[in-house]
Point group: none
Chain length 221, copies 4
DNA sequence: AATGAATGAGGGTTCATTCAT
DNA sequence: TATGAATGAACCCTCATTCAT
């Protein structure tokens, strides 16, 4: 039906591809040198186009930043909905959520340390990002309270636990490198385990841990 | 012997006080709005002086940023040396170090989320900060390996454990507020406990934890 | 073949024309009010563009200054190579060199008194300019020594002679005005004659001098 | 009559000594790094006093600059009046004037390349300096015309001759160093000779030149 | 007379953004 | 759609000058 075996994309598709390229390169550069130390000229040069061209694909520099926060929000949302779908005790749901979230951030956002740039968001986006974050923190808190209630978690200060988790997770982009020794799967599994051990009433079943470790070792290569 | 009960300070002392005021206000503003979004005019205005005056106390804007990184380095150093002085098993030393470090950051650096601004450091300072951080990470890794060797810690990937800890700790400035509910002592104690439970072979003795909790509750007020 | 009789220039040519306009206007302003007393705003305003636009054509203010020193260096180089190509006694080569140099400075650099601003050069350029100047002084010294050796020049202190010549020449931009009575040709011819009479063993042959004078008179108009 | 063998100076004398010290150091620094690249802080530091103190001795930075131009004007005036007092042909008076002037500039103003900073003078001083310079140039022109009239000088363009002389002379501060090989006496004698040979109808008497050279050799040590 | 802290004007430079081609 | 030239708003930093002590 379509010519060229669909290799020719619609102009809308091409537009999106180009926009993604802009975002990807910007994310890379922002992560490497920081948002403020990266000029759009740098991004354009890296893409081999002129600066003005970028404005065909993004409204302005701040929009690029917002895209990453938006994406992070989506990943967080996914992590919750998939964990809820799987069900289980509070501890189990918490574990699934964290694992999913860490994996998603690492896998999809790559080295996007951009998420730390918060003040550079335009006020309205900053507000949205704040609300998103608050909502997720609250969802986490509820998950922890649920775990405490069903006996799967120790009675801890949920707020502080969440802050601790979020810190560990948000720091990942600072040291994660796609080309490094640690794979997203290994990181997600091991870090989740590390974090949750401080919280669960009984440590995860030995069998499970062993399996996870084996997987990680396989991934590591 | 001295009049005014020494309330009258030498000019060198006054100079230092003023410099401290500059640093404090700058740190506050940087934490609030970010390093790049804060102009020295803002800082000066907040202090009720003119911009030029600031330059009597700091060399330039980047020096201010470096001061905070330098201070963080000192706190880290202290945390290690005091823990080493106290001695104990690898797990105990690790606990002491973390507690000291978290407490120091929270107490002395206040809300200094400035530590996240890394790219804004001048190249030479960035290098120094990098080296400092690497050295401390290495020292932590060695502590963990010691703990694993003496049986006080589980056999975990030391690098990943440290990254997790550092993330949690470095995130503190993002949510800590001196006027908030959580005191530095409580944070240091509880977060250390949370993080270490993922690592220690046997949980800390109940008595110890209970005491810590009691202390924290007292502090909370 | 080409339309508009090639009056339509390529964008690279336009670019160069604009850059030249910037340099010319800057040189004019610097000569008039001095390098430090001329802001780039002044230059931009005189060109009817905004200050930022200038940075499309020059890297910074100091680069403008350097351009003039570089150009002066080229003129000096030309003056030597063309004189060497013509050959003759030491006195003759010295005469040709000086004449060419004075003419070049006056004609091509116009009223560029900018050459006196030496301390404003960036250190690396100052070094380059120093080396250039030293090299040319040395070349002049050797020319004089050659002239002394071949008997065409009196035995004078070559250094002091060169300093004297250079002073007279470098002063030209201070009083030369393209719209004034004295033409570049006249200045070059007459000043060279004046300076060399202090040096040559025998005054130039009367015929030659007469011819030169006649030429100058013709030029003066 | 006076105690302390007059070693104790009146306060007015002390004041003048200090002012001279300020001017001397400023002149030194200005010559070395240029007027604009030298801050009053530099000058004060070199003198071991605070910046504010300088303002007890000079009105402002521009006054310092003017002092040097004023002094140069005085030296020029002296050179004329002493030459006129000695009398002689136009050529002889011109020679005496130039010699005196070069010697004075070198001897009294030392390495004061400051005289090149003209645009930094305050407008009123710039005007005064201009008038001074014009007056001296005119006086020189008249001297040359006198020499042409009395047959002691060739018929040259007086303006251009003067410009040439002034250039050579004003350049002296650029290369003269009090600690260098060339003494003020030698410079004054030799440069005057060099310059005048281009102008005089008959070269200076051999005996005279020989004497001058002998003196210079003695000075050179 | 000396200090040194404070000031405030001014200039160089960067860069996100716009727009005509 | 792509270009690249132009813009103008910021902002850092310097430094001559003033002034209270």
């Amino acid at each position: 039906m379509s010519r060229w075996n669909n290799a020719l994309q619609t102009s809308a598709e091409i537009q999106k591809l180009k926009r993604d390229a802009v975002l990807r390169e910007a994310g890379r550069a922002f992560s490497e040198r920081g948002y403020h130390s990266t000029s759009l000229d740098d991004v354009a040069k890296a893409l081999g186009v002129s600066k003005g061209t970028l404005y065909n694909y993004v409204k302005d520099k701040q929009e690029i930043l917002w895209e990453f926060h938006r994406l992070a929000g989506e990943i967080a949302e996914d992590s919750f909905s998939s964990a809820r779908a799987q069900g289980g005790s509070g501890a189990e749901m918490l574990r699934n959520t964290l694992k999913h979230f860490i994996y998603g951030l690492t896998q999809e956002l790559g080295a996007c340390r951009v998420l730390m740039e918060f003040n550079a968001l335009r006020p309205e986006d900053r507000l949205k990002a704040s609300k998103l974050r608050d909502a997720f923190e609250q969802a986490y808190v509820e998950l922890i309270e649920l775990g405490i209630a069903d006996g799967s978690l120790r009675a801890v200060d949920p707020k502080l636990a969440i802050f601790t988790f979020m810190g560990a997770i948000n720091w990942v982009p600072r040291w994660y490198s796609p080309s490094g020794r640690l794979t997203p799967e290994y990181i997600a599994e091991t870090m989740t385990d590390l974090l949750l051990r401080g919280l669960v009433r009984k440590p995860a079943a030995p069998g499970r841990r062993a399996a996870a470790r084996k997987q990680a070792v396989k991934d590591r290569r």
